[in-house]
């Protein structure tokens, strides 16, 4: 891509990534969550791939690393779900404990980050999974297109 696109995407990249991570971290108090934040982060990755080309990005971040990250996210999600299996699958066993354990009173409030039990942790696991999965799809398809073009 041209120099203008590369410069603008370099500037925008930091904001897009920060916004995606913010959506993942604050998923239990504000609109957002693991899937949405992961999609925003992966769209930033797509911007990188479009601007700089898949081969150049792939030198910094290998596709196999992304695959490992995705499996890690999935395993963390299932592990968190199995944590409350004494009561039931997906039981929220961290509510009231010392980790993310505050319980807000009923009604509108200002938003306390230290609430939600397993929900923020599951947001992070699913966010990692979605980031890695969607970025991997974009990477692999872009690499395949580039390879097909160079063969012709």
């Amino acid at each position: 891509m041209s120099k203008i696109v590369r410069t603008v995407s370099e500037l925008l990249m930091a904001f897009v990534f920060t916004f995606g991570l913010y959506m993942i971290m604050h998923g239990h108090v504000t609109p957002g969550g693991g899937f949405q934040g992961g999609a925003v982060f992966a769209s930033g990755m797509t911007l990188l791939v479009v601007a700089f080309g898949a081969e150049k990005v792939e030198k910094r971040l290998r596709a196999s690393t992304l695959s490992v990250l995705e499996s890690t996210g999935a395993l963390a999600f299932i592990g968190l779900a199995l944590g409350g299996v004494a009561v039931g699958f997906f039981y929220n066993f961290l509510v009231g404990s010392s980790v993310f354990g505050h319980i807000p009173a009923f009604g509108p409030n200002r938003g306390d980050m230290w609430t939600g039990g397993t929900i923020p942790l599951m947001n992070m696991a699913v966010g990692l999974k979605v980031i890695a999965g969607l970025s991997l799809i974009v990477f692999v398809m872009a690499l395949a297109v580039g390879k097909g073009r160079s063969e012709q």
Binding site: V29, T30, P108
Partner: protein, 117 residues
């Protein structure tokens, strides 16, 4: 009659689903088929969101909420599920089309005999 006027969003859902179905039925181009499936998906998502709307309801989030009259959270959660599945399936379909194009040289569903059976 009031029922007719108040149900216009559901009529829009019917229009979207009809459009998507007609695209799927009358096109042989595989890329256009994927577009039709995406339009159909948009119709289903609109149906789910419209199903959970409540008059003058706010977002179902208590942080800095104005009142506790909220729209229904369960259809919104199911819409989230549906959107993510749609993205994954669309990516898979598009990569299948890339492979088909590389093997046969065209993306016409009628002409590719290898797709049958």
């Amino acid at each position: 009659m009031t029922q007719c006027i108040s149900n216009i969003p559901f009529l829009a859902v019917a229009a979207l689903i009809g459009t998507g179905l007609s695209i799927i039925v009358f096109n042989r181009n595989l890329i256009k088929l994927v577009m039709g499936i995406t339009v159909l998906e948009a119709g289903v998502n609109l149906f789910l969101v419209g199903l959970g709307y409540r008059q003058d309801g706010g977002v179902p989030i208590y942080t800095n909420a104005c009142h506790t009259n909220m729209v229904l959270p369960v259809p919104q959660a199911l819409t989230l599920t549906s959107i993510v599945i749609g993205v994954a399936i669309t990516a898979f379909m598009l990569s299948m089309i890339m492979v088909i194009y590389r093997h046969t040289g065209h993306i016409d569903a009628k002409r590719s005999r290898t797709l049958k059976g």
